[in-house]
């Protein structure tokens, strides 16, 4: 999905660049919190890991193979901020060194493959992790779902960008069908590998999975040969905490799922208003086509299918937008929570 130069027009590329720069700036600040002063070496190693993992081809079907994008994996393992940084650095180096992805399209690439995948997957992951029972298996399952959605979500964001600033006027429905279709397949592979990888890491070093903090059992301290309970350093998933944040997390996830299902369902039928518009010949695009194209009958058929697709597009963009907005909310709330995390933990201990 590395977008080359000249694919997206200049203003939109620039706008995506601004979005990407903003996201990186936010992440730079957030990453310090996730990894304290170890940020640079650890994020660098994780970036190298993502680089390496992208070389890990997994066979999909007869002769073809896909490779991991790694956004979801990075977000779940080291947290969303560090994840964004790692993927951005990987993309930057790929662009400069391997000419993989255009330099002017760097903003688009970071926005699509770095920011979207990490933010969407992390929001989903946290949401699911809060709702599901706190076991290793459900963490793995949450990672699976998060990765599964993150890839088509990135495809949606790409389509959205293409829709606004694509240099060629391909019917957006076709772009979307192609992009989302292909990326749902890739997403399945990504999801399986991500879920299993997270599962494998949790089995050995649960403390290393950023998204699974709080799964560890209480610690013991040996003083003079006797085992004494150590004061809990991290919150150990108290039920009280679950009920406080569980409520809105459940709400968010339900909203996301509903938004997804409803708009997918809606997309099966052409949107009412649009249909009317087309019938009455108000639809500008149809008008254009009618004026331009010679074999009318032929295009009539095409238009209907286009229309269906554009209905589908609206739905899926809706899902994408919902997910992005939802995760934005999630993010904002999480950020507000973080400063008083220490106080939070103390309260939980008191309970």
């Amino acid at each position: 999905m590395h977008v080359p130069d000249g694919f997206i027009d200049a203003p939109v590329s620039a706008a995506a660049g601004v979005v990407a720069a903003g996201a990186v700036a936010v992440s730079l600040r957030g990453a310090r919190r996730e990894l304290d002063e170890r940020t640079a070496p650890l994020a660098g190693l994780v970036a190298a890991f993502i680089f390496a993992v992208q070389m890990l081809n997994f066979p999909v079907a007869a002769g073809t193979s896909g490779h991991l994008l790694g956004g979801a994996l990075a977000a779940i393992l080291v947290g969303p901020y560090t994840g964004v940084l790692c993927i951005s650095v990987v993309l930057l180096m790929q662009g400069i060194l391997f000419a993989d992805g255009g330099l002017t399209a760097l903003g688009v690439n970071i926005t699509v493959m770095g920011v979207t995948t990490t933010v969407v997957s992390y929001a989903l992951f946290r949401g699911l992790a809060t709702v599901l029972p706190r076991t290793r298996r459900s963490t793995t399952a949450a990672a699976f779902v998060a990765a599964l959605i993150s890839v088509p979500a990135a495809a949606c964001v790409f389509t959205l960008i293409y829709w606004i600033g694509g240099t060629t006027d391909i019917p957006i429905g076709k772009v979307l069908t192609a992009m989302v279709g292909v990326h749902i397949l890739i997403g399945i592979g990504e999801a399986v590998i991500t879920g299993l990888t997270v599962g494998a890491v949790i089995a050995v070093r649960p403390d290393l999975v950023h998204g699974a903090r709080g799964l560890t059992s209480p610690l013991k301290l040996r003083i003079g040969g006797e085992l004494v309970d150590a004061p809990a350093r991290r919150s150990v998933a108290p039920a009280a905490a679950r009920s406080t944040r569980g409520l809105w997390a459940t709400g968010l996830v339900t909203a996301l799922v509903l938004a997804g299902f409803v708009s997918f369902y809606a997309s099966a039928n052409p949107d009412g208003l649009e249909k009317v518009a087309a019938d009455k010949g108000i639809d500008k695009r149809v008008e254009e086509h009618a004026a331009k194209d010679s074999p009318l009958a032929d295009y009539g058929v095409k238009d209907i299918s286009d229309e269906r697709l554009s209905g589908g597009l609206a739905g899926v963009i809706g899902v994408g937008a919902t997910i992005v907005v939802g995760s934005g909310v999630f993010w904002a709330v999480r950020r507000r929570r973080t400063p008083d995390a220490a106080a939070d933990i103390r309260t939980k201990e008191a309970v």
Partner: protein, 255 residues
């Protein structure tokens, strides 16, 4: 500790105890004094707490109980920068130690972090690389060097800080015999206090006149290296084994 010590020993550890946050207690009151200019081998089975002890020497781990002093200066939060300049730790895997893109920058990292710049910095780097015989590799990336060369550069990165005491974690591991000997020559030529953590008993005997055994988180023995290695019962008690065919009695030490 029956060893006579100089007025300000390079290293003074007393009553050091430490438990990891996960509850595993690694050190149970370590007492160790290393005089200036001494070369001491720290021996002990796996899991004896050797690495944990090393990480206390420059304040990466905070003592649970007891104190560590380096050349008279206690290891405490407010003087960590000075402590880390004085204690040079060479880690076991040179790939962990060499993190900069070129050898020169890697050697310069420590002195530059303590504020050196320009010609003075350059001089430090050249001097340290010369001490380990790696001057001509200054501009090479570390990952293009052989393992033995990387270990030597790792020693140089620490020497560039002009440490009071050089702490080596398994310096001879993974080295071929020639690199092993070259490193020994380098270490012998240095005029610096050395604490060498090792499983390589012949190497300890070759380089360090004195040895201590760390076992179950405390110093179990402290003596001339040769005497320790010849004490079969003591060696067995602490899971230390000499390589096949090696007889420490037959070695005559220069010192």
């Amino acid at each position: 500790m029956s060893k006579p010590t100089a007025p300000a020993p390079s290293l003074e550890v007393s009553g050091l105890a430490y438990a990891y946050p996960d509850g595993h207690q690694a050190l149970f009151g370590v007492n160790l004094t290393v005089a200036r200019g001494e070369r001491v081998a720290l021996l002990g089975p796996n899991g004896a707490g050797k690495t944990t002890l090393v990480l206390h020497l420059n304040g990466i781990l905070d003592a649970g109980a007891g104190t560590v002093r380096v050349a008279g200066l206690p290891v405490e939060k407010h003087n960590l920068a000075e402590i880390r300049r004085r204690v040079g730790i060479v880690f076991q895997d040179p790939d962990d130690q060499l993190f900069m893109p070129t050898v020169r920058e890697d050697v310069a990292f420590g002195p530059a972090a303590s504020g050196l710049r320009g010609a003075e910095l350059e001089e430090r780097v050249t001097e340290a690389l010369r001490q380990v015989g790696m001057e001509e590799y200054a501009n090479r990336p570390p990952h293009h060097l052989s393992f033995g060369q990387r270990r030597r550069v790792a020693v140089a990165t620490v020497l560039a800080m002009r440490p009071e005491i050089l702490v080596l974690d398994e310096p001879s591991s993974n080295l071929d015999p020639a690199s092993r000997r070259e490193l020994a020559d380098i270490l012998r030529s240095l005029d610096v206090t050395v604490l060498m953590v090792t499983h390589d008993l012949p190497y300890a005997l070759e380089l360090c006149p004195r040895a201590v055994i760390l076992s179950e988180g405390a110093i179990a023995a402290d003596n001339r290296t040769q005497d320790l290695l010849c004490d079969e019962e003591l060696m067995r008690a602490h899971r230390l084994e000499l390589p096949f065919g090696f007889d420490p009695r037959s070695v005559t030490m220069g010192v």
